[in-house]
């Protein structure tokens, strides 16, 4: 039987039953397992921790890292912080938006219409002496150029 979001969440809650202040580790594990934190599991987490649904919803939506919607099949993050700006990250972000068909606004990312890519701005990856930096599906890449970016995106394969 395939695990359901509810069964995954139940297992995560059981693992952290005795841990003080466990909400963030729980949300991380749920998102790592499911790709996002479905709205349906929020009441379940709230009940498991004896919190209100509003408290759990508040935490999920407060932190940039947590997602309530399923992301695209590939997640691309482009650093927007000052060090990367000094090396042309604004132009790189514009290039990424154009290439991937995504539009970012302020701190918010977006997913392309075909569900292939999610593009997120990120505020510092700690690679500030090798700017600009991006992350493509959990892999870091520094000293990025539009040409190198296209090569990496093409390498993701046509079908994925």
């Amino acid at each position: 039987m395939n695990p359901t979001p509810a069964s995954v969440t139940q297992a995560v809650l059981a693992r952290h039953a005795t841990e003080p202040g466990a909400l963030l580790p729980i949300l991380h594990e749920v998102q790592d397992a499911l790709g996002h934190i479905p709205r349906d599991v929020v009441p379940q987490i709230a009940e498991g921790l004896n919190l209100s649904r509003a408290e759990v919803h508040g935490v999920v939506t407060y932190y940039h890292h947590f997602r309530s919607e399923a992301p695209g099949r590939h997640i691309v993050q482009v650093c927007r912080a000052e060090a990367c700006q000094s090396m042309g990250s604004d132009a790189l972000m514009a290039h990424a938006e154009h290439t991937l068909g995504c539009h970012t606004h302020g701190g918010h990312g977006s997913t392309s219409a075909d569900g292939r890519y999610t593009l997120n701005p990120v505020y510092c990856l700690g690679l500030c002496a090798s700017s600009p930096a991006v992350v493509i599906d959990d892999k870091l890449h520094a000293r990025m150029t539009p040409a190198k970016f296209d090569k990496l995106v093409n390498a993701l394969g046509a079908d994925a």
Partner: protein, 523 residues
């Protein structure tokens, strides 16, 4: 022939330029040639323009090659990399590379030299000498050593570390906590990341010493989610230290307990503020708490808590091992010891430079950094992260210490230096500072939550084409008034210091705002 030892860094700045591919190519090519290879994945030396920096152990010492790409490996082996032969990418003995030779590496003494997750390697390089010395002392004597060293918080606020510890030590409670703030969100900073990835036992040892000094038995390291490699390395190091009895119920056989847990943050910049971080550790939204009470009295779960930055804790083992005087003898004025500074942004030779306080920005940017990466003139550098000021050339010869910087309204912060060339538009960077504050504000206090959005709007009006509706001098005055409200009315540094980059941009680079007459009010 015995196996040749070759070092390929595992630091994420090396991984991001292909270090894993270089390591795999070395292994494959050596296997093909029937050469026995002892591959060590070390931390980074902190010379990021040379990454991937491959080092080979020779009778003369370690010899450096870089920047190496996987495709270079066969030719490097042909040229005699394994015996340290010359090559276009060879830089000779690593220790004699001027960038490293000119530094004063105390905290970063082991960085890039050891295998980060080898406890044996750590102990062979003075590791755990500090904790062993501490365990022979009474707790108050440990605190006294830290006080005498003059160590101040390296996270940015520069509060004397020993005074924090003394407060927690004096507090009465059944449970006390040690919390390491590893939410290194400032652009241009990576010394915490390097420490966690490249010398994690040093941080663990420093936190353990703090626990012994104040009587805490539990600790947390709160690490940014943007640092997955640091989280993985810290988890591995904690597991190894626990297995070896360096953490756990009986630290080094002392009969004292210290349990350490790694916690992953979730991408909120404001959680670098210590009370917001405590809220986050408790499983809540990272909303700033009003102070008092101080975390040293009522911190995590309401209990007395020592909160220090990674580099503050990491500085402690050496202080205990070599004595407070040894550390205090470095530095100037009330800024004692060394600071691992981070040269970042548009800089030719970016990386980690640990020097005693008192070095100048000009020395760092030109003697170490070699000027801009683009080859264009340097216009300014922002020191101390996104809440630090932009320093014009007239301030590049100031000694880098807490007091000298404070005297001109600047901050040393966490020691991050982001260099910009003459193509930078300071009005855009000022607008970005306000925009960043609007995105990252926790929302608790009005000057930060609303002021940052109004700040973006006012800067847009200043930069708009002249119109009867927007009188430029009036809008500039409005921006100054707004900044005054934010500085004096915000609950924490997020809103309180966002005006630093904004006003320094306006004061030192008025031409970028279309203002003809330089207005040199202090930032």
């Amino acid at each position: 022939m015995s196996a040749v030892t070759v070092y390929v860094p595992r630091d994420s700045a090396a991984l991001a330029v292909g270090a894993d591919e270089v390591a795999a190519a070395l292994q494959a090519e050596c296997a093909r040639r029937g050469i026995a290879l002892n591959l060590v994945r070390n931390g980074s030396r902190g010379m990021f323009w040379l990454e991937t920096l491959v080092e080979v152990a020779t009778a003369q010492g370690r010899i450096a090659y870089g920047p190496v790409e996987a495709d270079d490996v066969p030719a490097l082996l042909d040229a005699g990399l394994l015996v340290g032969s010359p090559h276009a990418l060879c830089h000779g003995l690593t220790d004699q590379i001027p960038y490293l030779a000119k530094q004063e590496r105390l905290t970063f003494a082991r960085m890039g030299i050891t295998d980060p997750v080898s406890l044996a390697d750590y102990e062979a390089h003075e590791g755990y000498a500090g904790l062993r010395a501490a365990l022979a002392l009474k707790p108050e004597a440990i605190v006294q050593q830290v006080l005498d060293s003059g160590l101040r918080g390296r996270g940015g606020a520069a509060f004397p570390t020993g005074i924090k510890w003394k407060t927690v030590a004096a507090a009465q409670a059944a449970q006390k906590y040690i919390v390491c703030n590893a939410d290194e969100g400032d652009s241009g900073t990576f010394s915490d990341r390097m420490t966690m990835e490249g010398d994690p036992f040093m941080l663990i040892e420093g936190m353990t010493i703090a626990a012994m000094a104040v009587g805490a038995t539990r600790g947390y390291v709160y690490i940014r989610s943007e640092y997955p490699d640091a989280i993985a390395t810290m988890n591995e190091a904690v597991a190894r230290a626990t297995a070896a009895g360096h953490l756990g119920d009986n630290v080094l056989g002392s009969g004292r307990a210290f349990q350490l847990t790694i916690r992953k943050a979730a991408g909120a910049y404001v959680c670098g503020e210590e009370t917001a971080m405590l809220e986050s550790l408790e499983g809540k939204r990272g909303i700033v708490r009003a102070k008092p009470p101080l975390p040293a009295i009522e911190g995590l779960f309401g209990q007395p808590t020592v909160i220090n930055n990674v580099i503050s804790f990491a500085s402690v083992p050496l202080i205990l091992a070599r004595g407070a005087t040894f550390y205090r003898d470095y530095g100037v004025g009330r800024s004692r010891g060394t600071l691992p500074m981070q040269l970042a942004g548009n800089i030719k030779h970016g990386g980690l430079v640990e020097k005693a306080f008192g070095v100048t920005l000009r020395e760092l940017m030109f003697d170490f950094g070699g000027g801009s990466a683009t080859g264009r003139p340097i216009k300014t550098a922002q020191v101390g992260g996104p809440l630090g000021t932009y320093l014009p050339e007239s301030q590049w010869d100031l000694p880098l210490d807490y007091e000298a910087y404070a005297a001109v309204g600047a901050v040393v912060g966490h020691g991050g230096i982001v260099v910009h060339d003459d193509s930078a538009d300071l009005s855009k960077l000022a607008r970005y500072a306000m925009e960043f504050c609007a995105i990252e504000s926790c929302g608790k206090c009005t000057p930060c939550r609303i002021g940052s959005t109004r700040g973006v709007e006012v800067i847009d009006k200043i930069m708009a084409p002249p119109s009867p509706k927007h009188n430029k001098p009036q809008q500039v005055q409005l921006l100054r008034d707004l900044c005054d409200t934010m500085v004096n009315g915000s609950l924490c540094a997020m809103g309180g210091m966002t005006p630093y980059p904004v006003l320094s941009a306006l004061n030192h680079f008025p031409q970028d705002f279309g203002l003809a007459n330089p207005d040199r009010q202090a930032a």
